[in-house]
């Protein structure tokens, strides 16, 4: 395939192939990490944004984008790492949330419902991804990666990750 025949929309489809190395069920499009694509002849500019500043996956993701797009014949690929506006879980696609739940990770609640600054605030009502019960409790505000918290279901007893609202 020649790079000149590809339009912007198709490029997003190609980038769907690139998964988050920490949550391999989500593509970088689902996560809302890809902010913009600019296409000028053979030159391509992709703007990405990190979920958290310390996210160790960003270098891998940038490399994967480069590989994926160079196989399409693009010679000049410029990847811009932009941090403003700051990433928020509200940018995660509905499709992404569905995939997360299927994978066993509770998807983030909408931001306006959560993200409270209040001390000792009651736990967010997080739905168990396995049995759909809302009788769950937070085990820890921090989990296996920066973007997750640990929860447990009080009904089916399953411990699970919650992709916390950010």
């Amino acid at each position: 395939m020649k790079s000149s025949t590809i339009d912007k929309k198709a490029l997003y489809t190609y980038l769907e192939e690139i998964k988050d190395p920490e949550v391999p069920v989500l593509s970088i499009i689902d996560l809302g990490i890809v902010r913009d694509i600019q296409l000028n002849d053979d030159e391509l500019e992709v703007t990405i944004t990190p979920t958290y500043t310390g996210c160790p996956a960003m270098d891998m993701i940038a490399a994967a984008i480069r590989v994926e797009l160079s196989t399409l014949g693009f010679k000049k690929i410029n990847i811009i790492n932009s941090i403003s506006p700051a990433w928020t879980t509200d940018w995660m696609s509905e499709e992404g949330k569905r995939k997360l739940k299927e994978y066993g990770i509770a998807p983030p609640n909408p931001k306006q419902q959560a993200c409270s600054d209040r001390l000792f605030a009651p736990d967010e009502a997080v739905q168990c991804p396995l049995c759909n019960s809302f009788h769950t409790h937070r085990v820890s505000e921090f989990g296996s990666t920066a973007c997750k918290a640990l929860y447990q279901c009080d009904d089916c007893k399953e411990p699970f990750d919650y992709f916390k609202c950010h």
């Binding site: 958290y52 500043t53 310390g54 941090i83 001390l119 000792f120 921090f142 989990g143 640990l150």
Partner: protein
């Protein structure tokens, strides 16, 4: 320009050194969940440090990189405040250090996100979301321990006695901070006000008339920083240019 470079390095050094200190807890936390929490915070702080070092390296434009700035400078070049280099001590001391620093960062970054330098503003805006989380978590720990048992209360008192003397320097601008546009008076007011609310809830006294140590921001450190850098920089010093 040189003031902006120094200020950016100061912001980077603050977060790198506290990130390194918190990382010392890895595998040693009181329970697994809190071990994970403190190292998560460490990762956030090191991520913020990277953003600031990358910018400082671009501004310097002398071949510096984020790595050379972190791994190849000596104590006198480091501009972090004294608070972040203090030893972990017990969990109470680590929690108090995190709370005092997060509280300072929270109000500082609120100002910095409107900074005239758009890059500094963007890093502050991004980091603020993480700092908000750190502040809430560490505030709860200060309250839990201060208003906990006699033992935990006494440990918090000891931690305050140990760390309070390093809080003064945060609000006294040094030369490279004078042009930043930061309103130090309102920063101090907001910070102290928040500390008062949390300490009050924690049944802990806010110290008064304490002699304040200064010097970190201009490279005059306590003896602890040398030991931190020895560990942090060992691999690059022993095997120059080595990569993962």
């Amino acid at each position: 320009m040189s003031a902006l470079i120094d200020y950016t390095l100061h912001l980077a050094d603050n977060t790198l050194i506290l990130g390194q200190r918190n990382a010392e807890w890895c595998g040693h936390g009181p329970v697994l969940e809190q071990d994970i929490a403190i190292t998560n915070i460490s990762l956030d702080l090191i991520g913020q440090a990277r953003s600031f070092y990358q910018y400082a390296a671009e501004l310097k434009a002398d071949g510096s990189t984020e790595d050379s700035l972190a791994y190849l400078r000596t104590e006198r070049d480091f501009k972090n405040c004294l608070l972040v280099e203090q030893p972990n001590g017990d969990w109470a001391q680590t929690m108090l250090r995190q709370f005092l620093f997060s509280c300072y960062q929270f109000f500082l970054y609120q100002q910095l996100q409107h900074h005239t330098d758009t890059r500094v503003a963007a890093i502050a805006e991004k980091s603020l979301k993480e700092v908000r989380y750190h502040l809430r978590w560490s505030s709860e720990w200060v309250i839990r321990l201060g208003d906990g048992t006699e033992e935990s209360h006494n440990r918090m008192l000891k931690a305050i006695d140990e760390l309070w003397r390093y809080t003064g320097e945060l609000f006294i601008p040094v030369a490279y901070e004078t042009e930043t546009g930061i309103k130090f008076t309102s920063l101090k007011e907001a910070g102290l006000n928040n500390i008062r609310i949390v300490f009050n809830e924690a049944t802990l006294p806010v110290p008064e008339n304490v002699y304040m140590q200064t010097g970190g921001k201009t490279g005059v450190h306590t003896e602890h920083l040398g030991f931190i850098l020895t560990e942090l920089q060992y691999v690059q010093r022993a095997y120059p240019g080595s990569e993962w």
